[in-house]
Amino acid sequence: MSSPVEDITRPASDEPFLVVDDLTVKFPTADGLVQAVTGLSYTVEMGKTLGIVGESGSGKSVSSMAVVGLHDAKRTHISGSIRVGGTEIIGLSEQRMRRLRGNEVAMIFQDALAALHPFYRVGNQLAEAYLAHHPDASKRDANDKAVAMLDRVGIPQPDQRARDYPHQFSGGMRQRAMIAMALINDPKLLFADEPTTALDVTVQAQILDLLQDLQRDFGSAIVFITHDLGVIAEMADDVLVMYGGRAVEFGTCKAVMSKPQMPYTWGLLESIPELESDPGTRLLPIPGTPPSLLHPPTGCPFHPRCRFTGDVPGDLCERELPDLVPGVEGAGHLRRCHLRNPAETLANAAEKREV
């Protein structure tokens, strides 16, 4: 059907399915140019999950919007390279981008009540997503497919529930429907933007299980965006920590969680309550506020909030942006920090707290 150039499903090369290379996203606002993402690079292989962690404004959502092409093309300046299955998508025509969206690359949004259209039946909205990429399919086929997907994500009596409106679903059911809609065209790459943040904890666990099951069946690559490190620990193979529009740490989930190499990641981990810890223990918040993207701090973007700038000789942290380089832990674990051996410094600090 499509020409070989457009067929992005073919094994283009041995590069990972999603390659983001030196991505920079800027947009002008009334107050000036916002540098939302700077020099971001990461890759995701088929069947793997990358967790992107960061606070609001860290650029985690903006960077994924750019990959799906949901940014406002006229107002946003994007540079760098995004390759999906070998196809460069920066500068791709709107029409070809549309063929990709919802088909090869799908997205699950945070608030399913707001993200589903209030005026259309759930089944209708799923069928619409199917028909958008299967123009030859009949309405009946699309409806059958919608019901089958609702069934697949564990919605009871799917043929009846397909005729309901989103407001008639419970929160967890709505998020399941959202997932069914994203997966209806067997996407190879799935962006999940805080998909469980609006749900209560038990429902959250069900949804995460469901996503893992589906990933096993469909073999898709998942980019999981969240600020919840607990969710990341459960879901991700690799973790990318973002701060102020930049990647500040990258490594396998285990490595990043157990031996953080960057004070910001360490701060995030320290601010989570632990199940086994003494109930009287105070959590350690990260002081200060996220950096302004209009006037980013000089040097390391985290230095105004960092507890460890004193351990770095001179005013290096204020002056110079550290590179994202492998630390002492090995080539797979990258961090952006001037500390000679951050893992050790941070481990000492953690120990001191516990004593």
């Binding site: 709107e94 997205m107 958008a132 809609m181």
Partner: protein, 332 residues
């Protein structure tokens, strides 16, 4: 749903009753003298005795409550109305007899209403689609030159007083340049073409002037809806731009615009005074204005009553439409 409509109809009836009471009260506690009006309509010489006789026969000296009861009863059963020695039959629904032509007001309304209805429908067919399309276009092109041009030009038209716009259009397009024929009302049932050509200029002027507020309103509503999460979802599905904007954006944006449309349409039905006057269309708006000058109370009260009924009904229709468009709205 049925129970809801019944309750709303009862409420509508009460509003109409209240309106009629207020109109009655305004008339009777204001400086009015129907006998004088009736007498002056027939002869230039009016001795006090004749005025008194007319008032007597019209029941003007009865208590107000009794007069209201007689008037209200006539609405349902019809009644005879005496002007001096002559009695006029006023069949149900009786809204009174005109002080001047001595015709039942219901007849006058029936005669005049088709012209006003034609004006209202034609103008609505212009301003509603035009306003919504221009507003949606401006919203989609928000911040661009197209948007600024649309918003700017609609503001210019909006700022010109309507009667001035209508007068100038009439002066230039009909009298000086002769682009349009002399506006007039011909019944559609007699000659559809003459009906159309006679009303085309009033439709255009009224439609264009009214469309500006619809454009601005639709623009605001559309800007809001295009920012909604569900529109982003529609884009993420890979739907065409057109489907995203029309099926997902506009469908939601149109709801508040329909509310305004319902009320505006009702107001138009109650008479487009300027339009009818300037273009010489014999509708109920023009009749109402003439009646106010002539102190022809039965016609004034009938116009107010009809206007109130339209507004109340339009509200009901809008609320029912709401529940059809938005499944979250339940009428209970």
């Amino acid at each position: 749903m049925f129970g809801y409509i019944v309750r709303r109809l009862i409420a509508a009836f009460l509003v109409i009753v209240a309106t009629s009471v207020i109109v009655f009260a305004l008339f009777f506690y204001g400086p009015s003298n129907p006998g004088q009006v009736v007498c002056m309509a027939t002869s230039p010489q009016c001795p006090a005795q004749r005025v008194h006789d007319y008032n007597e026969s019209l029941g003007y000296y009865d208590p107000v409550t009794q007069q209201y009861a007689v008037w209200a009863k006539g609405l349902f059963t019809g009644r005879d109305i005496k002007f001096g020695g002559t009695s006029y039959e006023c069949p149900a629904p009786c809204l009174g007899i005109s002080y001047y032509t001595r015709q039942p007001v219901t007849e006058l309304m029936k005669e005049r209403f088709p012209a006003t209805l034609s004006l209202a429908i034609g103008a609505t067919m212009i301003f509603f689609p035009l306003g919504v399309v221009l507003g949606s276009l401006a919203a989609r092109k928000r911040g661009t030159a197209t948007d600024r041009m649309l918003v700017g030009s609609s503001l210019v038209i909006y700022s010109i007083p309507y009667y001035l716009l209508a007068l100038l259009s009439y002066l230039y397009l009909v009298i000086i340049w002769g682009v349009f024929p002399q506006p007039e009302y011909n019944p559609f049932t007699q000659n559809p073409w003459l009906w159309f050509t006679g009303l085309i200029l009033p439709w255009l002027v009224l439609g264009l002037a009214t469309s500006t507020s619809y454009a601005r309103f639709s623009r605001g509503s559309m800007v809001e809806s295009l920012n909604e999460d569900y529109v982003r979802t529609a884009k993420a599905k890979g739907l065409s731009q057109r489907t995203v904007v029309v099926k997902h954006g506009l469908r939601a944006a149109i709801v508040p615009v329909i509310t305004i449309l319902g009320l505006d349409f009702a107001t138009l039905l109650a008479g487009t005074v300027f339009t009818e006057y300037i273009f010489g269309i014999q509708g109920i708006g023009r009749q109402a204005l003439d009646s106010i000058q002539d102190q022809n109370f039965p016609v004034i009260s009938a116009t107010v009553l009809i206007a109130a009924s339209f507004v109340v009904l339009a509200n009901l229709v809008v609320d029912i439409l709401y529940s059809v468009i938005d499944p979250r709205v339940r009428l209970t």
